[in-house]
């Protein structure tokens, strides 16, 4: 029948390179931008950027931004924003310092208490947003002020530190090397190799699965190229780090979280519902999704991640200061938008936010090495954010 014929007409462009590129331009474009920026600074800094020490530092410096970006992505996809994350992270750092330094609480219970506190803060804000429909912009703006103030009060305007050694390990520790390698940390290298292999295997399985159902559309050369580049990058970075002190503990935590949130957003019903909620709240609610509860929990989740980031940051500085966390929210939100999240909700990817955070991180790091002042760093970052979003919007309207 005529209908059927038309329905099957479809794009015969399947497997065509241009067709595939057109559909996935954004994802690859992001990746390429990151590579381009890295190469640019690698050259400009005469190779300092990719030096093992610097690379390790880069990861340490950005871990807390990336961790918060994971939560922020969900918040933004759900159609909201959270301006309070920087203040919350600072507050939790202060809380941790007061507990561990002034009251000698062991670091394990202290950490747990801090994460729970973060969750409660998220719940307190999410409550107004989800159940009383107060715009998240306003609630979290209030939260930002509240927790900035509370941090000052809690620390009595002073810096509190240093933290116990065991707690510092969270940020400054590296995974132990069972082989006791002197110039090359074998364990770290091995982990990187295993990861690269796991990635390739997972991709291969996914592809063959898709092929069996006739839905893969990625040209073979792309697939190979993508895997070689990714596995290569993991091995190379792993190698660089192994020649220094191995993989930092934070990197492991961060990596696990990235995997977890990628999985949640791509494969689980909860993730799917968050996208539907942000895409069209009314339709989502009429489909039986408990949109209020879901919104509430995205903020609880954000609170916990902000707390974790606060802990990592405090451990890294080895002291809690009233200024900690200042302006973090801007980097975190920028990372999500550079990474392709939509300010209208419903659109955004975890990998995008992570890459966005790395783009910001590499630029921060590279510009600092080049000796560009903090003043112009901000100007440049602002323009990059605008450009990234402009390209996105332009691409969409074409």
């Amino acid at each position: 029948m005529s209908n059927e014929a038309a329905a099957d007409k479809g794009p015969n462009a399947k497997k065509s390179y241009t067709g595939f590129l057109g559909n996935n331009l954004r994802d690859y474009g992001m990746m390429l931008s990151l590579f381009a920026i890295m190469i640019f600074f690698q050259i400009m800094t005469d190779g300092t950027l990719m030096r093992p020490v610097n690379l390790t530092n880069l990861v340490l410096q950005n871990s807390y931004i990336i961790i918060m970006a994971l939560g922020m992505l969900l918040v933004i996809v759900a159609g909201h924003i959270d301006l309070s994350v920087g203040s919350v992270a600072g507050f939790i750092g202060g809380l941790a310092a007061v507990m561990m330094v002034q009251y000698n609480v062991h670091f394990i219970p202290a950490t747990i208490i801090c994460l729970v506190a973060g969750g409660l803060i998220g719940a307190a804000q999410g409550y107004w947003i989800a159940f009383h429909k107060i715009p998240s912009f306003i609630v979290t703006l209030a939260g930002m002020l509240v927790f900035k103030g509370l941090t000052l009060a809690l620390l009595a305007g002073q810096s509190v530190g240093p933290f116990p050694q065991t707690f510092q390990k969270l940020s400054s520790g590296f995974i132990p090397d069972v082989f006791g390698g002197e110039t090359l940390r074998l364990t770290s290298m091995l982990i990187a190799a295993l990861l690269a292999a796991a990635l390739v295997i997972a991709n291969l399985r996914h592809r063959s699965n898709q092929q069996a159902h006739g839905v893969e559309d990625e040209p073979y050369a792309f697939f190979i190229g993508k895997n070689v580049v990714f596995a290569g990058a993991i091995l190379y970075i792993g190698y660089l780090m192994a020649t220094y002190r191995g993989l930092p503990n934070v990197l492991v935590v961060m990596f696990a979280l990235i995997l977890f949130y990628t999985f949640v957003t791509n494969r689980t019903t909860v993730g799917r519902r968050v996208y539907a909620l942000g895409g069209n709240e009314k339709a989502a609610r009429l489909s039986g999704i408990k949109t209020d509860r879901l919104t509430f929990f995205t903020f609880v989740n954000m609170g916990v991640l902000a707390a974790l980031a606060g802990l990592i940051f405090a451990a890294r500085l080895n002291t809690a200061t009233p200024k900690a966390g200042l302006g973090f929210e801007l980097d975190v939100i920028a990372a999500c938008f550079i990474g392709g999240a939509s300010a209208y909700g419903g659109v955004g990817k975890v990998m995008g936010a992570v890459i966005g955070a790395f783009i910001m991180g590499v630029m921060n790091n590279g510009m600092s090495i080049l000796g560009i002042g903090i003043d112009y760093q901000q100007v440049i970052k602002g323009l990059v954010l605008l450009a990234a979003v402009f390209i996105d919007v332009y691409h969409k309207n074409k």
């Binding site: 005529s2 329905a7 479809g10 539907a276 009429l286 408990k290």
Partner: protein, 511 residues
């Protein structure tokens, strides 16, 4: 008569879809020209090309208007020379008044300062022309869709229209409002204004059209001149779907069983004005295997009733009982209503039915993610299979199930919403205007699905403003007016006149 408009060899492609291929259209000056075709045939796209929504360069072919080739860069360009389009979705600002809406972007101003006296006078004049008795001060949100449609037309008149394009203007209007609108078109014609009318309601078309252009799969397949000879609806349908359609409604032998859904003493108060009762203590019983129709005018409370039963998604201070298979069930949230086997297909697919930015696949499974997942993890391939099977079963016209629903034609969007609720496997399916904006062929397919559900021992409640559809499909028809059922007819005894009389009589009693 000479042509006011000629579109020649129009071809328009979207990524992966050829929406129009070499379409020709000639509209004579002062005629009402109807365009018909199946959902997704390309009607709206053609009109968007004509009005500059898709600018020159984004399509190929040429537009000749009043004897000159035109290349519009945007809508303002086409409006300047008298081509005004009223889109399938109304484009009024709800919280502005009628007067403000009428002159939006075309304000009656001098040096940027609005002359409200002039605006008011002109508004009154225009409202009189379209036969709308409302104050220019009334907010658009406070008037019904029918009147909003008239405001849109008044807005077009405010701009010196020569060629008026109406894309499914009567899709959400009841018969009286539709008739008023069609009469208006005839009046415009008398004043020399040409119109292009897109509609799936063929009776309207045979009433007013001078010429009919039929589009199928993005190409013009036929042009019928109604002035030379009377064109039968069957003739039009044949051209549209490319085959004969012996019946408009699929045959069915009803096999009606025990009551399945019962609603008792149902009272609903207005969503905002809590003191106002919208549904006034009504009872309803649907049986297994039954197709039950609910007739009534716009604003009778049918949608409010259905939504309040569906997890209290409308209203407040709701009281009454709902029974499924004789046992009382909890419908206090949408999730519970769905779990208890109730599904509601909304009349407003864009705002309440679809996540427009997501693809077909994700929309289809949204109400029943449990059906394609285990332990909270979605099985991609299973989901794909489900979506593809619905695509096939309902003949959803798309490039693939990965196509964003925002890019589907109106009728195909409706099929996606329907798929979503069919996949939730309800025992009772409540359909609110299920065939609004849907072509004859697709209607038949949807009716067939309704019959299949009934044959499986499920029940279908059908709210519709299209009388012929209720008469053709339902085993029983309830008539609602002002929040109460005022009459009940068996499918065999019901006629259009009886239903209308019941409504009018109830209205008189209330007055």
């Amino acid at each position: 008569m000479n042509a006011i408009l000629e579109m020649r060899g129009i071809t328009k492609t979207f990524p992966g879809v050829k929406a129009l291929e070499n379409v020709n259209l000639t509209v004579k000056a002062g005629e009402i020209h109807a365009i018909v075709g199946e959902n997704g045939a390309g009607k709206s796209t053609l009109m968007k090309v004509l009005s500059g929504v898709y600018p020159h360069g984004s399509y190929s072919g040429e537009i000749i208007y009043e004897g000159e080739e035109r290349r519009f860069a945007d809508i303002a360009d086409s409006e300047k020379i008298g081509i005004i389009i009223i889109h399938q979705e109304l484009a009024l600002v709800p919280l502005l008044s009628i007067a403000e809406n009428l002159f939006l972007g075309n304000e009656q101003a001098k040096h940027g300062i609005i002359d409200w006296n002039l605006a008011f006078r002109r508004t009154q004049e225009l409202l009189r022309k379209v036969g709308l008795k409302e104050s220019p001060n009334t907010l658009v949100t406070n008037i019904g869709v029918g009147k909003q449609q008239l405001v849109e037309i008044a807005k077009a008149l405010a701009k010196e229209v020569k060629l008026l394009i109406l894309d499914e203007p009567t899709a959400s209007l009841n018969e009286t409002d539709s008739d008023a609108l069609l009469d208006l078109l005839l009046e415009f014609k008398a004043h020399g204004i040409s119109s292009i009318l897109i509609s799936h309601k063929l009776n309207e078309i045979s009433k007013v059209a001078d010429t009919i252009t039929v589009i199928r799969d993005g190409s013009t397949v036929d042009t019928l001149d109604c002035r030379a000879e009377a064109i039968s609806e069957d003739r039009v349908i044949r051209a549209m779907v490319g085959r004969d359609m012996a019946h408009r409604f699929p045959k069915r032998t009803p096999d009606i069983g025990a009551p399945i859904l019962e609603v008792r003493d149902w009272v609903v108060h207005h969503q905002i004005h809590a003191e106002r009762r919208v549904i006034k203590n009504i009872n309803l019983t649907v049986h297994r295997g039954e197709v039950l129709g609910i007739a009534g005018l716009m604003g009778a409370g049918r949608t409010e009733f259905a939504m309040s039963v569906f997890g209290r998604s409308y209203g407040q201070r709701i009281s009454g009982k709902v029974l499924m298979d004789g046992r009382e069930i909890d419908v206090s949230t949408i999730g519970r209503a769905v779990d208890n086997g109730i599904a509601y297909v909304t009349e407003d697919r864009k705002h309440y039915g679809l996540v427009l930015g997501e693809d077909i696949k994700k929309n289809v499974t949204l109400a029943n993610l449990g059906g394609v997942s285990s332990g909270g993890v979605i099985d991609d391939l299973k989901e794909l299979k489900v979506a593809n099977s619905f695509r096939q079963k309902l003949r959803i016209r798309c490039s693939s199930v990965f196509q964003q629903t925002v890019n589907l034609s109106g009728g195909n969007q409706q099929k996606v919403v329907l798929s979503k609720w069919l996949f939730a496997q309800p025992k009772v399916l409540i359909l609110d205007e299920p065939t609004r904006g849907i072509d004859v062929g697709a209607k038949y397919e949807i009716y067939t699905i309704i019959n299949e559900l009934a044959a499986e021992g499920k029940a279908v409640v059908m709210i519709s403003s299209e009388m012929p559809e209720l008469l053709g499909m339902c085993d029983r028809i309830l008539v609602m007016n002002e929040g109460v059922f005022v009459a009940e007819f068996s499918g065999a005894e019901a006629t259009q006149e009886k239903i209308m009389r019941a409504i009018v009589k109830a209205g008189e009693r209330a007055a």
